[in-house]
């Protein structure tokens, strides 16, 4: 046991004496949360749009006012003819044009039916889609209000309710994603690198010619990173609750428990990488390309897995982060209990044990 603690102490010395390692370990999670929270948001605010109002009546004026007052849109320009729309889009300042036909109010009054055209700049399809949805929602809202006033028959009333995240905040989906990413980077890459570093500097040679069991060397390497990951989990959760306003709807204890499970899985993966690579560059490369990219791409955090072709959907199942992402979303945002996530937890536990056993089996007790 004394051997073990002296190993852990040594490992802490390595980490604490290297400012770069410290910066990556503790600074990166905070930086990522802030970058994702404020810069890389997929919410659309204050988009500049133009209006071509061919009708200029009570209804269009009311609608335009309503659109302008929403926080999503800023009406930049009023256009006078249809031909100028194309030129407006080409300047790139305008994201969408709302076109009211002639006699909008009359159509609405007499036929109970009127048309609005939304032309969006779909060179960025996501933004275009979002803007069209926002605008439709505002128009629907207006329609509902006048419908209520008049009590006209035969109006179809569509009600959309956004569950768990009524404001459609991006933070709800990326906080679990960033957690998965940070833990993967810290645990997998850093542990893989520190073990391989001992091989590179030759200290592993001396450690091997000592009575210490290889298992002890490997576990002692992982302990400091487990502790640091817990600090990271806490700081990510605090930032998301207090700075980004993402609530923790489920049990905090359960959330921390599954995070530790995922940390252990990542550590086991790191150990596995370290026992099959011989240089720090190789370890870093495998961690980044082999793990970090799939974590970002295939965990469902950036791109929905449901939309992927079948082969990618199958591959996504071997990405540990996919399961962790699902669990964290369920626990943190939906507030479900263990009974609804046990399957995912089981999969992660299985992966963890698999990687751990494999890495211990692959651990070289000799140099070659």
């Amino acid at each position: 046991m004394k051997q073990f603690f002296s190993f852990v102490k040594k490992e802490f010395h390595h980490i604490l004496r290297d400012p770069r390692t410290m910066l990556i370990l503790l600074g990166m999670p905070i930086a990522q949360i802030i970058i994702f929270g404020f810069a890389l948001t997929n919410e659309v605010k204050n988009s500049k749009i133009a209006v071509l109002d061919n009708s200029k009546d009570v209804a269009t004026t009311a609608l335009i006012q309503q659109i302008n007052s929403s926080r999503y849109f800023d009406i930049e320009k009023s256009l006078t003819d249809y031909k100028s729309i194309d030129a407006e889009f080409k300047t790139g300042k305008i994201k969408m044009v709302i076109v009211f036909p002639q006699g909008f109010n009359e159509d609405l009054q007499h036929f109970n039916k009127a048309q609005v055209q939304l032309i969006a700049d779909a060179s960025d399809p996501n933004v275009a889609n979002t803007l069209a949805n926002y605008a439709t929602a505002i128009i629907m809202d207006y329609q509902n209000r006048i419908t209520d006033d008049r009590k006209l028959p035969y109006t179809i009333h569509t009600e959309i309710q956004m569950l768990y995240n009524p404001q459609l905040m991006g933070a709800y989906s990326f906080v679990p994603g960033v957690m998965a990413m940070v833990l993967m980077l810290v645990c997998t890459m850093m542990t893989a690198i520190t073990i391989v570093r001992e091989k590179e500097t030759g200290t592993m040679e001396v450690l091997l010619v000592s009575p210490v069991q290889p298992l002890k060397i490997v576990i002692a390497k992982a302990v400091p990173y487990l502790l640091l990951s817990m600090v990271n989990i806490m700081s990510i959760l605090m930032l998301s609750v207090f700075v980004l306003g993402v609530p923790i709807n489920g049990s905090l204890l359960l959330l921390i428990a599954v995070s530790i499970l995922f940390t252990l899985t990542s550590l086991a993966l790191g150990l596995l990488i370290s026992s099959v690579t011989a240089s720090q560059q190789a370890a870093m490369f495998i961690s980044l390309v082999g793990l970090f990219l799939p974590t970002v791409m295939l965990s469902g955090f950036m791109f929905p897995i449901e939309n992927m072709p079948l082969p990618l959907r199958i591959i996504s199942n071997v990405v540990p982060a996919k399961w962790f992402y699902t669990i964290v979303k369920s626990v943190m945002i939906k507030g479900v209990g263990f009974s609804l996530i046990w399957k995912e937890v089981l999969v992660l536990t299985g992966m963890m044990l698999f990687f751990l056993v494999l890495s211990i089996k692959k651990f070289k007790i000799r140099l070659a």
């Binding site: 002296s6 001396v206 091997l208 000592s210």
Partner: protein, 308 residues
């Protein structure tokens, strides 16, 4: 005396089967308990491979070896408890201080600095003023001393030192060998390798290793006695033409640079006069011809020529 290390027909290959290079080709010798045994050979002779096989870090392709009575393959765990190993490259933690390194190695061998302080005292006392300094900031000589301390702290029964004096200045090298002599008195068997022939004289016995083969095993004096031919040290102010002339002389077996002189090995005994006559044209260039006693390097050169 029972041998501390036995090596029996060890063969080691590197590389793929089609293109393999032989690092060790059937080496056998024993090292007695409490002996200071030197393996002398140039770079690439196979010294490090042999050390790694004995310290259980590599598996030999053929042959057996034992350390302290334990087989290096079957009982590798036993050997790892009782061997001290100092690799050729400085292999301590550069970001830990001198004291932390020593403490760490003491703990992983289940001992404490206090318990075996008497073993390292003479050496440690020299680096103690710098015990708060990081190991990476030490000079080459001090690094070697610290590495030796770390390899000794668990009172190993066999100590493996792979080129401990490479890259260390002449004064520190001399000090290092003095330390090894003192350690011998503690009844620790020491196997040490070096590319410096002049260090051979400090060992009890030496093995001369070249291209994976042992040229000779004997005491340093024994190896010198094997050298039966006449040897001369020759110099003049025109060294290069002198060497060329020596090389084509029919009475000369071998001639090579040796410091400020050329060493000349004669084919037959008592031919000093013939050599003097042959070199008479250099008489005006300060020619000097001295009969000398061979040293280990002369023996090594002769043995190497014989095996070619």
């Amino acid at each position: 005396m029972k041998p501390a290390i036995t090596i029996n027909n060890i063969v080691k290959f590197y590389g793929a089967k089609s293109n393999k290079t032989e690092a060790l080709s059937g080496i056998s010798f024993n090292v007695n308990e409490g002996e200071l045994f030197g393996i002398i050979g140039p770079d690439g002779a196979g010294k490090t491979s042999l050390f790694r096989i004995l310290t259980t870090l590599l598996l030999a392709d053929e042959g057996e070896a034992t350390v302290d009575g334990y087989d290096v393959v079957k009982y590798y765990k036993e050997i790892r408890k009782r061997a001290g190993y100092m690799p050729g490259r400085f292999s301590l933690y550069q970001d830990l201080t001198v004291e932390e390194n020593l403490e760490f190695f003491a703990t992983i061998f289940n001992t404490t600095i206090e318990k075996n302080y008497h073993l390292i005292k003479d050496i440690y006392i020299q680096i103690e003023p710098f015990k708060k300094r990081k190991a990476g900031k030490l000079s080459g000589g001090m690094k070697q001393k610290l590495a030796l301390c770390c390899a000794l702290i668990h009172k190993p029964s066999v100590l493996f030192l792979d080129e401990p004096t490479t890259g260390v200045d002449a004064v520190s090298r001399k000090e290092f060998w003095e330390m090894l002599k003192k350690l011998k008195q503690q009844n620790i068997t020491i196997l040490v390798s070096t590319p410096y022939m002049d260090e051979a004289g400090m060992c009890d016995r030496v093995a001369l290793l070249q291209s994976g083969k042992i040229l000779s095993i004997d005491t340093p004096d024994g190896i010198i006695e094997q050298f039966q031919k006449d040897l001369f040290a020759v110099r003049s102010s025109k060294m290069l033409p002198l060497l060329n002339d020596l090389k084509i002389c029919s009475e000369v077996e071998d001639a090579y640079f040796f410091g400020a002189y050329h060493h000349v090995v004669m084919k037959h005994k008592n031919e000093e006069q013939q050599l003097k006559n042959y070199l008479s044209k250099y008489a005006g260039d300060g020619l000097e011809i001295n009969a000398i006693r061979p040293n280990i390097e002369d023996c090594f050169m002769a043995l190497m020529k014989n095996t070619e």
